[in-house]
Symmetry: none
Subunit: 223 residues, 4 copies
DNA sequence: CGATAAACGAGACGGTACGTCGCGTCTTCTG
DNA sequence: CAGAAGACGCGACGTACCGTCTCGTTTATCG
């Protein structure tokens, strides 16, 4: 079903099953990417639910039949569009090598272009907050659900700083956000439960070591 | 529009704007929570898209009119239901105080009851993967988008371990997941761009200190 | 259920069953007629279907409960309102007696007042064409259904005049309308089938005698 | 909006305004009549108000969208269905010609088939008494409104017979019904006022000539 | 004169049908 | 045959009305 292989790798896999019969008009390959581009733009502009198949067809100047000839459902199209959008994140062959792990990690996220990166962010937002109009849900989740938890955690951390258990220069706010982020990520994307063991691992292996460490190597400040 | 304030705090009932007129039948407050409970159960059981308003009405033994009298749309109802579900996360007055920051943080996530916690997870999952059927999107996002990035990052970290820049006992996999989690969280929930400054802060304040720290305090193993 | 007896005849029927208990506030009799007036006005203004019970309640400055205390349904209210509207048509005791049957019949329809008569017409129209906005249905029925029939009948009558079977001065158009009217009246109001026997009676007893009669007594012209 | 022209006459398809664009799937003309047939059956079986659009869609094995693509509302559909039902009443080209006006008029109402005629009656009844349950309204109208009037008119006519002004064999009951029928027909279907002039014309041209005529030509009896 | 009981106005409630919109399929014409 | 256009079957949405109910208030009779 996925069209991405064809798009990503320009090889022609010779189509063993349900190959296009030799006669008749050939598939217009440029339509594949036109539809995906239209879908990504629609996702970024109006979000998943307001992205209707008719809208995408109109943006791609095609008809729905040509879309469903390529993808069996809206979901499949979105999946492929997302994979396509991130097709350049995966070049394991040409990893940066600056000699510093910090610079290596940062180099990896250098986007192709500013506007590409901008759209990428909006696409993810349009996905996560199902509806463009309804991204209030996101705000409410972050404010009411994770916001409350982060405030409580921050208070616990501040107290720990006061009694000298963790470093004075610990990044309290950042740590709390990591906790929220891992919870949301695990439940909504990995579709696993964020249980106590997972949480303890996060604390023991990453957060507590960082909190105890008294040094901030590069001295950057928060934005 | 939000009914949660009334549900959460049974107090400030002065109602300056659009207060219920003194005459006429009073709103049945028990219906508010009955509908929200029904909505949460529906979310947990069938996910956002399969949760129809008629289904929720049937579960709450009411009619759609009474639901739309309270919330102007399905989305508004879901927002309030989510806030309601987490109304107890915010009790800043009774924070745990075990003397250890690790135990404090863990104590905070002790749920009221096992089944409450179970449903909470399912509700979040039902939200994130909008449709039961469509959780493939989630899988693809984690596999293709973040999966590729995590693999690359893991390779960079392994190399750094080899050249002695970070600790041999560093939690490579966990660190990579935190990076993915923070990206997803920032874009889909906080609705902000995950830019280079934000990333650098995460690295400098939390991840790099943890990676350099050679100790794993509590000795817990990964799940 | 019917309130009309009480309104029409001011006698107090001593209420054998479900009589109003001696204690408690008394029914406001002026409300009965206020509601009926409001209902008639609503019927005349917007027709049966757009006459909502809330609208009538608002017009009568009362609540729906007070209406349903008197009539068990919208239909019952409308029935009584119609009867009330025509309560003066039935005074068999004081029939006109002018010595001429023509003047007697005409005298009977002298309305109480012009505006009363006007509203009466509009009420009937609002009933027959269920919706005010939708009285197009009526137009279509009269145009397409009865219109076609009337045209055909008119042609038959004209031919009969030509061959001298009926009077030259026969009222062709009027006769055709009577046929349509009797069909509609029998089926929609009397709820009987307008079968061949009924039709033959109408022809033999009324229409054919009139058509053969060569005289137009009073010489009035059509409007 | 009306689809009947297309159904009735298979000709003039030039379609100057809002013609179906040359491209795209064509409207399925058989659906037009399938829906109309379903609507007529529903009207005959359950009456106007119990005829829901979902019911008609189910009977026609289609969806509501396809119905609303053709007619903008339930009312429009009913209008066209009624016109369609009577599309054969208008064959002016093949009028009967028996040599007797009586037989001509009767021959015109010979239905295409018995069951067609049967349904036609039930459709009209389902219309006039808007709801199956609400045909009480019809009964009340005929009983209280026209019934009272007819009784009074009958008394006037009887008196006129007694003093010899009209024929002894005059059809008193039939004449009174014609008066009621013309009133109802004029107001509810023609949507005109039944004023004194109209009434006088009816009397002078049809009813009084018939009443004065002393002969009952064909000797048929009342049903 | 206060208690009791019912009517009243307002409006919430459960239910049902409406008319709209989107998905994924099918059909028609054009290249 | 593929492409563009758009009709089709289905199902959920959000609205409106019916007839019932529950409030708090007003009006009447009874103890």
């Amino acid at each position: 079903m996925s069209k991405i292989k064809k798009l990503a790798s320009k090889k022609n896999e010779t189509k063993p099953l349900s190959r296009p019969s030799a006669v008749g008009r050939k598939r217009d390959d440029s339509l594949d990417s036109a539809i995906i581009e239209a879908a990504l733009n629609a996702l970024a502009e109006v979000g998943f639910d307001r992205m209707t198949m008719d809208l995408v067809a109109a943006k791609a100047k095609t008809g729905k039949a040509s879309m469903y000839r390529r993808w069996s459902s809206k979901t499949e199209l979105v999946r492929d569009a997302l994979v396509f959008m991130n097709r350049h994140s995966v070049e394991l062959t040409e990893l940066p090598d600056t000699g510093s792990i910090r610079n290596d990690l940062l180099a990896l996220v250098k986007p192709k272009s500013a506007e590409q990166s901008e759209r990428k962010m909006r696409v993810l937002a349009g996905l996560g907050s199902f509806f463009a109009e309804y991204r209030k849900i996101s705000e409410d989740i972050s404010t009411h659900i994770f916001g409350g938890w982060e405030k409580a955690n921050a208070q616990l951390l501040t107290r720990a700083i006061e009694r000298g258990e963790i470093s004075k220069s610990a990044d309290v706010e950042g740590t709390c956000q990591v906790i929220s982020a891992m919870t949301a990520y695990t439940t909504t994307l990995l579709l696993k439960t964020f249980d106590k063991t997972t949480y303890a691992n996060l604390l023991d292996n990453i957060l507590l070591p960082a909190l105890r460490s008294g040094t901030k190597p590069s001295g950057t400040k928060k934005a």
